[in-house]
């Protein structure tokens, strides 16, 4: 195992966050605060409670998930795409680094960033609403597993993308809508029956539901199904990454 290489990649990627602090930390915190103002205060005055939880507090897990998913994907995608774009990827490809090591470095850094961001958003939320976490350990498990899984997904997008448009395409056109429609801002039970069925086809619903359960012990689907879904995502991403590494797809000519 080339531990020095993993450390070097990880450190390098984390340093990039330091340089882009405004974009990677401050911006999501501001947008989260805006969500609280708009959804929590304006809409929250109409919907006072969801399943016994104040609407503002109900929003918190969904908002964290929203940032966690989008930031994991974009951080990891950008992390591997940028060296491809500038050409500095030659160094990684000619280094005695296995693809697993590169993956640990890039995905590890992207997941760390988005998990930290999730925690920052959680801390921000406590200024607006009364947040209680029934199962902190489970909450962390969800946070970490989701962060890693979607960073892997972002890594795949970063390797697949051969221009900036493609890099933005999946996060904007798929990830964001799925998160919005996955029960981040409402309980699935609030929807008409047809939409409930459709929503259950959205994989993100399971992540949000399980994550929310770790806070308030309320869920749209069973906790075990939620955990199982993350496992399925993780496995699917690992299989694709394995295929990329075997074939050198979009990396080695």
């Amino acid at each position: 195992m080339n531990i020095h290489a993993i450390k070097a990649i990880y450190k390098f990627e984390m340093a990039r966050t330091g340089r882009t602090l405004l974009q990677s930390v401050v911006a999501p915190v501001i947008s989260t605060s805006l969500y609280f103002v708009v959804f929590g205060s304006a809409i929250g005055s109409r919907i006072t409670e969801v399943e016994g939880i104040s609407y503002g507090a109900f929003l918190v897990p969904g908002l964290i998930m929203l940032s966690l998913l989008t930031q994991s994907v974009s951080n990891a995608a950008f992390g591997i795409y940028f060296p491809k774009f500038t050409g500095t990827i030659y160094e990684l490809l000619s280094a005695p680094v296995s693809m697993i090591e590169a993956l640990i470095g890039y995905v590890g850094a992207a997941a760390t960033k988005s998990i930290m961001l999730g925690l920052i958003i959680l801390a921000t939320a406590t200024f607006f609403v009364d947040v209680r976490i029934a199962h902190p350990m489970l909450m962390l498990v969800f946070l970490i597993l989701t962060g890693i899984t979607f960073s892997l997904f972002g890594f795949i997008i970063g390797i697949w993308a051969d221009n900036f448009e493609k890099l933005q395409l999946i996060p904007l056109l798929i990830v964001t809508p799925l998160v919005f429609l996955g029960g981040s801002f409402y309980s699935v039970s609030m929807l008409p029956p047809v939409w409930q069925t459709i929503t259950l086809m959205n994989p993100v619903t399971y992540l949000v539901s399980g994550f929310r359960w770790s806070f308030y012990e309320i869920a749209d689907v069973s906790l075990w199904i939620s955990l199982g879904m993350i496992g399925v995502f993780l496995l699917a991403c690992l299989l694709v990454v394995g295929w990329i590494f075997r074939t050198g797809y979009h990396l080695r000519s």
Binding site: N2, H4, A5, K7, A8, I9, K11, F12, A15, R19, T86, G87, T88, Y90, E91, L92, L93, S94, A95, P96, V97, S98, G248, R252, S253
Partner: protein, 307 residues
């Protein structure tokens, strides 16, 4: 002596079907400087990329330090430093950060004293904390060399190291390469500049259309293919070459004021003595004489024409 890099029947066909390398065989020995000469698109960069692991070989094998580049890629890549042709750098980083990063990537523990030495060797120590985007092209080129040297490689690939570099800097680069060789580093460089190969290399390989046309010691190559010319400045101009000399390889230049005789340095007889005798018989007097040897550039053009 065991070769440090050994290439056997190497073929590379890109996915689009373009065959960039055709059955390449080449042994490179420790401590030598070998220059790969060839026109654009000849396959020089593909050859380097394949050895370094950036491109995958279609067939054939390459060993570095006796290890296979695919099976034992960790061993072989640790031995290699690569300076790419393009000035690809992390614009927002500093030389200090990026060179230390390279060392880590190649599996070496941090060694700030060594990195300082490398940056001093390429005259970038003063610039170590500047953003890379503020460096000049020549500095970026030297930075790429520093990155390639960060893990103390035994074999250094320089892909067009002086492309777009001014004359003074080019000379500095050559000196740096010579210093590296003195430290036992084997150097493989590709170049368009014949002057560069002539100045630096011990051996020269010529690549065209994905094939190695020739690999020779520089001196032997120059001698073997080099033609020498004897140039005579005449006191009186000649309107034509006299009949008695017509069989000789002679030509007139400068409105008949200069007579040029081309001869083969490898031949048993150069024919100079008999030419001079013949000139005396024809009463052709000359005020000066000199000889010139064809440059590597002329040899190169000749080789490519034959290929």
């Amino acid at each position: 002596m065991e070769p440090v890099v050994s290439i056997k029947n190497l073929n590379k066909t890109y996915r689009g079907g373009h065959q960039a390398l055709k059955n390449i065989n080449l042994d490179i020995y420790p401590g030598e400087i070998i220059a790969l000469l060839g026109p654009n698109g000849a396959g020089k960069t593909t050859l380097i990329s394949t050895i370094c692991g950036i491109a995958q070989p279609t067939s054939g094998s390459v060993t570095v330090g006796g290890k296979d580049i695919i099976k034992d890629y960790r061993d072989t890549r640790s031995l290699i430093g690569l300076v790419p042709q393009e000035l690809t750098t992390d614009s927002f980083e500093t030389p200090w950060v990026t060179v230390n990063f390279s060392r880590g990537l190649f599996g070496k523990a941090p060694d700030h004293a060594y990195i300082e030495k490398v940056l001093r060797d390429v005259s970038l120590w003063e610039k170590r904390n500047n953003k890379i985007m503020t460096l000049s092209g020549g500095m970026k080129r030297r930075l790429l060399i520093a990155k390639a040297l960060s893990h103390e490689p035994r074999v250094l690939f320089l892909d067009e190291p002086t492309a777009g570099v001014d004359v003074e800097l080019r000379r500095e680069m050559w000196q740096l390469v010579h210093r590296l060789r003195e430290n036992g580093v084997t150097i493989i460089l590709t170049t368009h500049y014949i002057e560069e190969a002539e100045e630096m290399a011990d051996r020269i390989g010529v690549i065209a259309n994905g094939e190695i046309i020739l690999v020779e010691d520089k001196a032997a190559l120059m001698q073997k293919l080099g033609k020498k010319q004897l140039v005579l400045d005449l006191k009186q101009p000649l309107s034509a070459i006299p009949e008695s000399l017509a069989s000789q390889a002679l030509e007139l230049r400068l409105d008949g004021y200069q007579l040029v005789y081309t001869f083969d340095t490898q031949a048993d007889r150069t024919g100079i003595t008999s030419l001079l005798d013949a000139l005396r018989r024809e009463n052709i007097e000359f005020s000066d004489l000199s000889t010139t040897q064809s440059s590597l550039e002329q040899i190169f053009v000749q080789l490519l024409e034959e290929a």
